[in-house]
Point group: C2
Chain length 156, copies 2
C-alpha cells in the first residue's frame, strides 16, 4: 500500500540495505548469490529505475562480467524468480524489488513521461479481479498490475 519511488531518499543506504537483505535471504535459503547476480541487482538498485536487459548487459560488458544476452537474462531470471527484482511487462524492463525477501504481489505506477516507476502492493485475490476469478473457478497464482499515468512531478 506504500508506494516507493517518487520520493527522495538516502540512496546509498537503500542500495546497501537492498543488497544485504538479498544476501541474507540467499544464505538462509541456500541460494547462490554469485558475482554476476549480485552485480545485476546492484546495477538496478543504483539506477533505481526500470532497465532493459540489454542496458544492463552493456554495463556488465564494460566490467568484463559477461557480454552475451543469456548472461543478463539468466541473472534476471534468478532475481525475478526469487522476488528480488520484477519485470515491468509494459516496458519490457526490470527493476529491483523495493521489499526484497517479503512474499508479495507487486503493483507498479509507471510515469509515461519520465518513466519513473514506483512499487506499491496489490492483493490480487481481493477486489473485482478476485471476485471474477472466484465466480469462474479460475485459480490465480500470480498477477501483473501496472498502472500508467503521470507521476506527481510530471503532473505538476
Amino acid at each position: 500500500m506504500d508506494a516507493i519511488g517518487f520520493e527522495t531518499h538516502d540512496h546509498l543506504t537503500c542500495i546497501k540495505d537492498g543488497l544485504e537483505a538479498v544476501a541474507a535471504h540467499c544464505v538462509r535459503h541456500r541460494l547462490q548469490f554469485t558475482p554476476v547476480r549480485r552485480r545485476v541487482l546492484e546495477i538496478m538498485l543504483q539506477e533505481h529505475r526500470a532497465m532493459g536487459a540489454y542496458e544492463i548487459l552493456d554495463k556488465l560488458r564494460e566490467e568484463g562480467l559477461g557480454s552475451q544476452p543469456p548472461v543478463a537474462y539468466r541473472a534476471l531470471d534468478f532475481l525475478v524468480s526469487h522476488g528480488f527484482a520484477h519485470k515491468i511487462e509494459r516496458l519490457n524492463a526490470f527493476i529491483a524489488c523495493a521489499h526484497p525477501g517479503q512474499n508479495h504481489t507487486p503493483a507498479f505506477l509507471i510515469c509515461r513521461k519520465c518513466d519513473a516507476v514506483a512499487e506499491a502492493h496489490a492483493e490480487p485475490s481481493c477486489g473485482m479481479l478476485g471476485r471474477a476469478a472466484d465466480e469462474t473457478g479460475f485459480k490465480i497464482e500470480q498477477a501483473v498490475v501496472e498502472a500508467l499515468g503521470l507521476c506527481p512531478r510530471c503532473a505538476a
Copy 2:
C-alpha cells in the same frame, strides 16, 4: 465483473455481433473500418484466443491482404487504440475485446496451461492500487491487470 471466455457459447453469433458492434461504432465515430482492420478483428474473434501479431500476419498473407509486419501492427494499433481489441502484455499477444465500444478497463485471467484468456472488468481507481496512487499523487490514466493461473478446466 463478468468473465467471458471459459464458457461454451454460440460462437458464430459472437463473431457476427462483435463485428457488427464495431462496424456500428466506427460509423458513429467516423472511423474507417477498412478491409484489413475488419479482417484482423474477425480473425481474432474467430480464434477466440490471444494471438501474436505474426500469427495474425500469416493469415493475412495467405489471403493476400498484406505481408509485412507493419500491416498487422497498424491494424492492431487501430483496434487497440479504439478499444476493439486488447494487448495481453504478458503474452505479447492480442485478443478481440469482449465488450466492444463500451468504455472499460479490462482485466484478464490467463491460463498458464492452455493459454485461454478470459476478459473481466477491473476498476483501476478502486482498491489498493487506487489508494496508493492517491497517496503519492500519481494520476492513473490506464491500467494493465493480468492474472495468471489455472482456468477451471485445467485446474480440474
